[in-house]
């Protein structure tokens, strides 16, 4: 996908949000509450539109491709994002530390840490470290589920 396309897609996304949000401001009980949001939304709409026009105008002659770095694997990134979403979703079901152990192990394995001993060692050590630092030393609250 070209950089131009990314910019246009993002700008369109912002414009759509801007339009819907602007319409929503008419449902506010007090007109005073809508002043500031409307100013920011109008700016957002106009600036995003300007960016779309500028992007199309400037890159009519040259197409700037997002440099494909051979060292970057986009499929890995995408699936990693989904694995992260799954992790966040199961935290409140399994408990933070259990979910973290599963997440760290599975993600590192997927990203290429194939040495099983190293994998489990890092996962266990990290969860232990997190437990000691967050729970015992700092006393931070963590989500509980059916496990810790």
């Amino acid at each position: 996908m070209t950089k131009k396309a990314y910019e246009i897609v993002f700008s369109i996304f912002l414009i759509i949000i801007g339009i819907f949000a602007y319409i929503e401001t008419y449902s506010f009980r007090f007109i005073q509450s809508s002043i500031f949001p409307r100013i920011s939304l109008i700016l957002l709409f106009l600036l995003s539109l300007t960016l779309i026009l500028e992007t199309i105008a400037i890159s009519k002659n040259k197409t700037k491709y997002v440099k494909k770095d051979r060292n970057i694997n986009n499929a890995k990134k995408t699936l990693s994002i989904f694995i992260t979403l799954a992790y966040i979703s199961i935290i409140s079901f399994l408990g933070f530390y259990t979910a973290t152990f599963l997440y760290v192990t599975s993600l590192m394995f997927y990203l290429g840490v194939k040495n099983i001993k190293k994998l489990f060692f890092i996962s266990i050590m990290f969860v232990l470290f997190a437990y000691i630092v967050f729970k015992i030393i700092l006393g931070l609250p963590t989500p509980y589920g059916i496990f810790i």
Binding site: G18, K76, F96, V113, A130
Partner: protein, 501 residues
């Protein structure tokens, strides 16, 4: 002021605070040494953790992380020619050639001492300049506070991106996001769609952590680093890292010049550690007796860049603590740290909360000294850490960020907010949209709106009355300048290129 300094010293020198300053320094150096992370990630990652400490200790730790990350970048810049942070690019120009000549140890030592001296100078200037400047801020009324918020936002917009248009879009979007939740004046609910969770608006810490830390973790996933054999690093670092007396004589003028430059650049809102480093490097070359050696392994080059970039740290906190204007993206994130402890930048920080503020300022001096010791003793160890692969690093950052996001309010939805903002931040990074304006708009948006409404109420009958207030007019002019200055620079660059051809 003197009483404040004494209070600060007493507060800093207790085991609890010193412990967290040391921890913050070590973590900062490690994060700085790992390419791809940087000060914003370091501060954002540990910010939620400081919520559970007393404010003074928490801010001391964040300050130590800030300084540590700026110095840490020099380690990988010198040994691997991969600057850990943008502030260390200039360091690599002479640091890496020194490593190739087998003088890696000497380069590390020069960088360490220069960072210490520059950082200490910047911190001392913070201590001397900030209090009188904060006293001046008492004269600010609602119009000035409104304009200050807009100026602060304009500064970050103009420096955070190569494209002013993208910066403005990010700022506008951030202002819209900041209006979600309860209207600060009327109590009207805005854009909540009956979702109870959104009644208090977008929570700052999860948004901040998502935008800077987790998005960065997603960015480094899949980047297969060329593993530098650790054995090679060991061979490259020969000899002592403590500079000789002769080295000190060569670089003392460079360090003095660059420390002053770095501090001034830090104070000017909008300039940051990388600009400080580049200008410090250029100035070092200009005053050097051997400018032809620059780029080939000159110790003055390393010293100039490092003294300047660490001096920026203290300087950048001057406008932040006194006026609430972040000097750069890292201090914008630091502002989040102040706010979660209920501290509002301005005169109150130096009156009502003077003890906390002076403790922070004194702690920077302690953190700089800790950075010196750790740098001398463990620079080679930190270099090994820079080789940690993204396969291990990314999941750890995400987990850390998740617990940090959850811990403030104990609400699982905060982690989802972190995730949403991480996707936003990741996509913005890919499309060269700056993220700092969104963060700053989330912070300054409610302030700007509240002061705007107050201004309208106070001056309602004669709104033009605000234009005879000199500070307000100056702030308008500064805002216009900060937004138009990048355009002038861009036009003059294009003009120069056209002239050359």
């Amino acid at each position: 002021m003197f009483i404040g300094i004494i209070d600060g010293i007493i507060n800093v020198f207790n085991i609890y605070t010193i412990f967290f300053i040391l921890i913050g320094t070590i973590i900062g150096i490690i994060i700085g040494a790992i390419p791809g992370l940087g000060s914003c990630v370091g501060i954002a990652l540990l910010l939620p953790v400081t919520f559970f400490m007393d404010p003074a200790t928490g801010l001391c730790m964040l300050g130590a992380i800030y300084g540590g990350t700026v110095y840490g970048g020099s380690i990988s810049a010198i040994l691997l020619c991969t600057p850990g942070t943008s502030a260390s690019v200039a360091t690599s120009w002479d640091g890496y050639p020194m490593t190739e000549k087998g003088l890696g140890g000497e380069a590390l030592g020069i960088a360490t001492f220069s960072s210490y001296l520059g950082g200490t100078f910047g911190s001392l200037c913070l201590l001397l300049i900030a209090p009188p400047l904060a006293a001046f801020a008492i004269k600010f009324g609602p119009p000035e506070r409104f304009m200050l918020a807009i100026f602060g936002l304009s500064v970050i917009i103009s420096v955070s991106s190569k494209s002013l248009l993208k910066g403005l879009i990010a700022g506008s979007f951030g202002l819209f996001l900041s209006s979600i939740g309860l209207d600060p004046i009327t109590g009207n609910l805005r854009f909540t769609f009956n979702i109870l969770y959104l009644y208090e608006g977008i929570p700052l810490v999860p948004a901040l952590v998502g935008l800077f830390s987790v998005s960065q973790a997603f960015d480094i996933i899949g980047q297969e680093k060329k593993q530098t054999a650790l054995g090679n690093i060991q061979k490259k670092i020969k000899g002592s890292v403590i500079p000789t007396l002769e080295d000190f004589k060569k670089i003392k003028n460079t360090i003095i010049h660059s420390s002053v430059i770095g501090t001034i650049i830090g104070i000017i809102p909008g300039a940051g550690t990388s600009i400080g480093a580049f200008v410090g490097y250029s100035e070092a070359k200009r005053i050097s007796k051997n400018p032809e050696d620059f780029g080939k392994g000159s110790i003055e080059g390393v010293a100039g860049a490092e003294a300047a970039n660490n001096a920026v740290v203290g300087g950048s906190l001057v406008p932040l603590l006194t006026l609430g204007i972040p000097g750069n993206a890292a201090s914008a994130v630091f502002l989040g740290g102040l706010l979660i402890h209920g501290l509002i930048p301005g005169p109150d920080l130096f009156t009502k909360h003077a003890t906390i503020t002076y403790t922070l300022m004194i702690s920077l001096l302690v953190a700089n000294f800790a950075m010196l010791i750790f740098g001398i003793v463990w620079a080679k160890t930190f270099a090994k850490v820079a080789n940690v692969t993204s396969n291990i690093l990314a999941p750890l950052i995400i987990v850390f960020s998740s617990i940090g996001s959850y811990s403030i309010r104990g609400n699982i939805f905060d982690i989802f907010i972190m995730f949403i903002f991480s996707l936003l931040g990741y996509f913005m990074k890919k499309t060269d949209f700056p993220r700092a304006p969104i963060l700053l708009a989330l912070i300054l948006g409610p302030i700007a709106e509240r002061e705007l409404i107050r201004t309208i109420v106070i001056f309602g009958g004669n709104i033009f009355g605000i234009f005879i207030r000199p500070i307000f007019v100056v702030l308008i002019l500064l805002t216009i300048l900060s937004l138009t200055y990048p355009l002038f620079i861009q036009k003059s660059k294009i003009g120069n290129i056209k002239q050359k051809h």
